[in-house]
């Protein structure tokens, strides 16, 4: 529990054939990184538009 990071937890669950559990963690991480990236891209896009307008 102390040195376990999320990807390792997925591996552990996969080795126990707990596909549902592994998928649940994976889904949370996927959605989180997608939203984070989308946010960054939108900020970048807006700042570029701002720079072009100025």
């Amino acid at each position: 529990m102390r040195t376990e990071i999320a990807p390792l937890l997925i591996i552990t669950k996969l080795e126990q054939y707990d596909y549902t559990g592994a998928t649940a963690i994976a889904l949370v991480m996927l959605v989180a990184s997608f939203l984070l990236l989308l946010g960054i891209n939108l900020i970048q896009w807006r700042s570029r538009r701002f720079a072009e307008a100025a």
Partner: protein
């Protein structure tokens, strides 16, 4: 110069030396030392042990598989990356931000998840699992799965490298060519491609390095069958878990050499890549 105002060059000597020393010792401790350790450990039991470890059939099979997966992944991702960068930078369409985000996703998400995705799609309990089983096609725990995982993980490298350069160049030259009557392919091969050739090569190098070193994604889909679905990084892990340290470090040193070659190539190309961006003709 007014008192109290400092320029980067004239900080007090202790500050300059202190910062330099801190940075250098950090690099030595966390980068140089482990790198040297790999080679020292690999050769600890002499050259003959080193050669035996590398020329062992399982190791050779792992090297072959890594080269195969890397070759396919780099080829596909050069084409896809080029197409994606072209679409994103030369055309306007709705949902572009979502597309760019999707291109970046393999960077941000853990490679283990990339492997899991393919297990869920192509595995025995996955979407296409039953169909693939009936037709006797093996993707997961076989070579195709390893190639797929490698392709996924290395997808952003070429596209990400090209997009800023193509964005900086804009579409003026292509438009000029179009006005002068050039066709689509003609424009691509005579204008677009020559403009980005160094960036493309740079992206290919980064893609190659990552493809050869990929562990997490490949580990999930490979099934660790020695001599069949074992790539070089997985082989290192197996040897290490068997307490066969000299062999593990010997095989790892191959990857370390690859990293050094990549760095050298990157260094050589960096100047050229800057040319791609700067060499914009006068408007």
């Amino acid at each position: 110069m007014s008192p109290g105002r400092r320029s980067p060059g004239n900080d007090p000597a202790p500050v300059r030396w202190g910062l330099t020393l801190t940075a250098l010792s950090f690099l030595a401790l966390f980068v140089a030392l482990p790198l040297i350790t790999v080679f020292v450990q690999a050769l600890a039991k002499g050259w003959s042990t080193y050669w035996t470890a590398i020329r062992e059939p399982d190791a050779l099979a792992a090297i072959r598989l890594t080269l195969l997966a890397t070759g396919i992944a780099v080829l596909l991702n050069s084409l896809f990356g080029l197409a994606a960068a072209w679409a994103v930078t030369k055309f306007q369409f709705p949902g572009k931000n979502v597309l760019i985000t999707l291109i970046d996703l393999p960077f941000a998400v853990s490679p283990v998840i990339a492997g899991l995705i393919y297990v869920l799609v192509f595995g025995t309990q996955g979407w296409f699992g039953p169909w693939l089983g009936q037709h006797n096609v093996r993707i997961i725990f076989a070579v195709p799965g390893i190639v797929l995982a490698t392709v996924f993980v290395t997808f952003p490298f070429v596209a990400r490298e090209l997009i800023p350069h193509m964005q900086a160049r804009g579409t003026d030259e292509e438009e000029a060519a179009l006005v002068l009557g050039a066709g689509g392919w003609h424009i691509f091969f005579r204008i677009t491609l020559p403009n980005i050739k160094w960036s493309l090569l740079y992206g290919v190098i980064l893609c190659t390095a990552r493809a050869m070193g990929e562990f997490g994604a490949v580990s999930v889909v490979s099934g660790h069958i020695r001599g069949e679905t074992n790539t070089v990084p997985l082989h290192v892990e197996i040897l290490y878990n068997e307490y066969n340290f000299a062999a593990a470090f010997a095989v790892a040193s191959l990857l370390a050499v690859l990293a050094l070659v990549t760095l050298a190539a990157k260094r050589l190309l960096e100047g050229k890549v800057r040319q791609d961006a700067v060499e914009v003709p006068e408007a």
